[in-house]
């Protein structure tokens, strides 16, 4: 057991767990934040995607010890009211079906837009191929990422340079 301190969705957080315990299970079981999903446990499906210091990571293979002192952002903290451009676009286009993978899809998309405000289809393929959707919402995801890019551009007066996350 070890005490690990980090920032979770902008607030100081401290947990007392095994240092090897993956961030995913700390979020879900220790902290009761179930928006982040378990899909494969091997970073193969992307359902557990969260941001660590602004970069998309797979929380299922991230030991909690490596999170100490860093900023973790989960779906619960992406916006207080589903107002993030990615959430708006997802809602506008009704992207989710079963919805289980969508927290991970949204966090991956938000990180992509944070780094590249106007991603091409090839950019989307490269990043989003890490996130499986068995319902096959891929066409909606692609459209919604382009739409979120438009929303961001409009809200930044047409000069968006990133910073989506």
């Amino acid at each position: 057991m070890a005490t690990i301190k980090f920032s979770l969705n902008g607030k100081a957080q401290s947990v007392d767990v095994s240092p090897q315990m993956p961030l995913l299970w700390v979020l879900r079981d220790t902290l009761g934040m179930t928006g982040t999903k378990f899909g494969c446990g091997m970073a193969l499906c992307g359902a557990c995607t969260v941001h660590l210091n602004g970069t998309a990571i797979r929380s299922c293979i991230t030991p909690i010890s490596t999170v100490a002192g860093k900023n973790v952002l989960t779906i619960e903290g992406l916006s207080p009211d589903s107002s993030h451009a990615v959430q708006k676009a997802w809602t506008e286009l009704d992207v989710p079906q079963c919805g289980y993978c969508q927290s991970g899809q949204i966090m991956a998309a938000a990180a992509l837009l944070g780094k590249k405000a106007k991603p091409t289809d090839a950019d989307i393929d490269e990043v989003m191929r890490g996130n499986i959707c068995r319902c096959g919402t891929y066409q909606g995801i692609r459209s919604a990422i382009h739409r979120a890019s438009e929303i961001l551009t409009a809200s930044n007066g047409g000069s968006n340079k990133g910073g989506a996350a």
């Binding site: 095994s18 992207v95 989003m128």
Partner: protein
């Protein structure tokens, strides 16, 4: 801390429902946590088993169907709301408890039935409730009911423009007898049915608040994982839990019927404990089973005649006199469902009751399983349906529910059982493998004259007259006008557990039949579209989707160099769809560029959900066509996770175009409609491109040149 509220029926209200809805008693359901927050202090009045209205005008629609992405939460709400005339923005939904009186003896979600079976009762329930609200308003105002009109959650007195909200009328309405034969709208008057209203579940699924099975949490709950024998049918011989119990956080280790459970203070510690378990297995009768042996068993089964599933004309005699015969063997592997949410279940077994929180497709099976294990009566066992992180047929099984209930019973506390991805993939109930032999012959003009099929496949739906209907569906019901047809079935079951997989028998059989029809077309020098046109001449709905898909895909028009098209059509679940796939082979890799799908699913409730489901089914079909297969070695499944059981990812997603045939025919299903026709459309395109016929899925790199 997010917890799932335990819910109990709070009160019963005798409502005396109209026989139209087939119901006799309505009852008030408890408010959900969400509803409670918004209706604090209000009472909820039941107008029937599907509708409750709060004094604050909140309309709660009770869903006896599971939401796994296919959209019943929204579509069934549209059916109710169309007739109820409520305010769409005030609608909330709740999943129904198990109640055979209200929701039938097999309460569940399977066979793409939600809209098909809900079309009448949901609209009648809405209309009946609307009439009760109108009557209540008429009595309150002392006017004739004909003077009152329901609109947007209110009743209007058309003589003086006075209005009362549904909430203000609900208590009085609930005391009235339900009228029989409440009038239903004609399709021309629909305002909600047929519109792409936004899904009701989307807001919960873009911010992490939707509660799936795996998100259940109860006070005092602990976390379990289960070690199962890697060989199907194997049992625990002995185990040593010394090291497992030494893992920090591990509380208990117990043996149940399916294996050895480790219970800990969180899922991770339970998994660590399981890694430390030492178990001796009795691997049982299947310990030497492998895929080659299974294939031989099935191939041998097709050497002799099987039970006849369909007979038209005299195919064996016609084959004896036929000139050139076209023979082909088609094969499909076992498949895992691999929903994104692995199996799981939370159970709380007490002396006086049992609560089960589960992402289940069949509530009745969950209920009966829990009753059997606990010995409790039905009214003491509550099934709480959560959102399903994908189902595809897998969640019709109750194996994961049985395990959780057994564990909770053994340890006497609430327990959440989580399956790892590896558990899920190696202990699925699989889509069965099939080995199917076709023999065909042509007439003098080159059109099909004989169609003979021998299917060898496990029985996974139940035998009748020697035939498993699921194993032959998609073959014995082909609609092609061929004068001599014979379809035979031989059960060949090596013992791998099986169940339904999205589109059931059609999932493999439509690949077989639509590919073999293409073989007959090629043998007779016919165009794949032309042969379907001719042989479907007496089936206008099949023909119409074929024509529409061909037209929208520019069938027959030039394509870029190295591209080719293939076509396939299917009639399943009461709907019809044809697909044209456009493919190329680039750098030794098959690329599906575009799939054009024309679908006739009768009356459409929500076009956007129909389109999304068609896309969804095509992606599911493409994974099976291009990627996935389960193989067996030493009685074990070889694939453990998504690196070994690959599925389609976004970079391989084709452009999918969906064209819906306008129709006022009875609604058909949609969730499983499009999966069957994708693989044959792709394989037929590959033949058009390379001249090489693929007869075994998934398509491998050696099939491409």
């Amino acid at each position: 801390m997010i917890t799932v509220r335990k819910v109990d029926r709070r009160s019963f209200l005798k409502v005396g429902l109209g026989s139209a809805a087939g119901l006799t008693i309505g009852f008030a359901l408890p408010e959900s946590a969400r509803l409670t927050a918004q209706t604090a202090g209000s009472r909820v009045f039941a107008l029937n088993g599907y509708i409750h209205i709060g004094a604050d005008d909140t309309v709660t629609l009770v869903l006896a169907k599971s939401e796994m992405g296919q959209g019943p939460m929204t579509a069934l709400s549209q059916l109710l709301a169309e007739e109820l005339e409520c305010d769409w923005k005030r609608i909330h939904t709740e999943f129904a408890p198990v109640d055979p009186k209200l929701y039938g003896a097999m309460q569940g979600t399977f066979g793409s039935m939600s809209v098909r079976t809900g079309w009448d009762p949901m609209r009648k329930a809405g209309a009946t409730a609307r009439e009760m609200l109108l009557q209540a308003a008429a009595q309150k105002w002392g006017v004739d009911k004909s003077q009152c009109r329901a609109e947007n959650g209110t009743v209007l007195n058309t003589a003086n423009n006075q209005r009362l909200t549904f909430g203000a009328l609900a208590e009085d309405a609930a005391k009235l007898p339900a009228p029989a034969g409440a009038p239903l709208k004609s399709p021309g008057d629909f305002k909600i049915i047929g519109k792409s209203l936004k899904r009701l579940d989307t807001p919960l699924k873009v911010n992490g608040t939707a509660k799936f099975g795996l998100d259940a949490k109860l006070p005092g709950m602990q976390y379990a994982v289960l070690a199962r024998c890697p060989v199907f049918g194997g049992k625990v011989k002995s185990f040593d839990d010394t090291k497992a119990k030494a893992v920090p956080g591990v509380k208990q280790v117990v043996q149940i019927s399916n294996g050895v459970a480790v219970i800990a203070d969180n899922t991770w510690n339970a998994m660590e404990g399981r890694r430390a378990l030492q178990i001796q297995w009795d691997e049982g009768a299947l310990a030497n089973l492998d895929s080659a042996g299974i294939r031989k068993m099935m191939a041998d089964a097709t050497e002799k005649p099987g039970a006849v599933a369909r007979k038209v004309g005299d195919a064996p005699a016609a084959l004896n006199t036929a000139g050139k015969k076209i023979e082909a063997v088609y094969e499909a592997p076992y498949l895992s469902h691999a929903p994104m949410e692995p199996m799981n279940c939370t159970a709380d077994v007490r002396a006086d009751g049992c609560d089960v929180y589960a992402a289940t497709q069949i509530q009745t099976a969950a209920h009966q399983t829990a009753m059997q294990i606990t010995g409790l009566s039905g009214d003491k066992v509550k099934i709480h349906t959560m959102f399903l992180g994908g189902g595809f047929g897998r969640r019709g099984g109750a194996d994961f529910i049985q395990e959780a209930v057994e564990i909770s019973k053994a340890v006497g506390i609430p327990v959440k059982l989580t399956w790892s991805r590896e558990d899920d993939m190696t202990h699925d109930l699989y889509r069965p493998a099939s080995y199917t032999k076709f023999t065909g012959a042509l007439d003098a003009e080159g059109w099909p004259a004989v169609w003979h099929t021998r299917v060898a496949c496990p029985s996974f739906a139940g035998m009748r007259n020697g035939v498993d209907f699921a194993a032959v569906q998609g073959i014995d019901d082909i609609e092609y006008g061929i004068p001599n047809i014979q379809v035979e079935y031989t059960k060949a079951d090596p013992g791998i557990p099986t169940t339904y997989w999205r589109s059931v028998g059609y999932s493999q059989n439509t690949f077989f039949t639509e590919s073999f029809l293409d073989e007959l077309a090629a043998a007779g020098g016919k165009d794949p579209l032309e042969i379907r046109r001719r042989l479907l001449a007496k089936n206008p709905r099949m023909l119409a989707v074929v024509e529409l898909a061909a037209e929208k895909a520019n069938w027959g028009k030039p394509l870029p160099a190295g591209h080719a098209r293939g076509i396939a059509v299917v009639n399943n679940i009461g709907s019809f769809n044809a697909q044209v796939a456009e493919i190329s082979v680039e750098k030794g890799k098959l690329r599906v560029h575009r799939v054009v799908c024309a679908v006739d699913c009768g009356e459409v409730v929500n076009p956007q959900i129909v389109e999304a489901q068609i896309q969804s089914g095509i992606v599911y079909g493409l994974s099976a066509a291009l990627k996935s297969g389960i193989t067996i070695k030493n009685g074990r499944v070889e694939q453990q996770n998504f690196n070994q059981y690959e599925v389609l990812r976004i970079d391989e997603m084709p452009v999918v175009e969906v064209h819906i045939v306008p129709s006022h025919q009875a609604p058909g299903g949609i969730g499983e409609a499009s999966t069957p026709s994708t693989a044959p459309a792709v394989a037929n395109a590959l033949f058009a491109l390379t001249g090489k016929r693929v007869r075994k899925l998934p398509i491998r790199s050696e099939d491409l040149a």
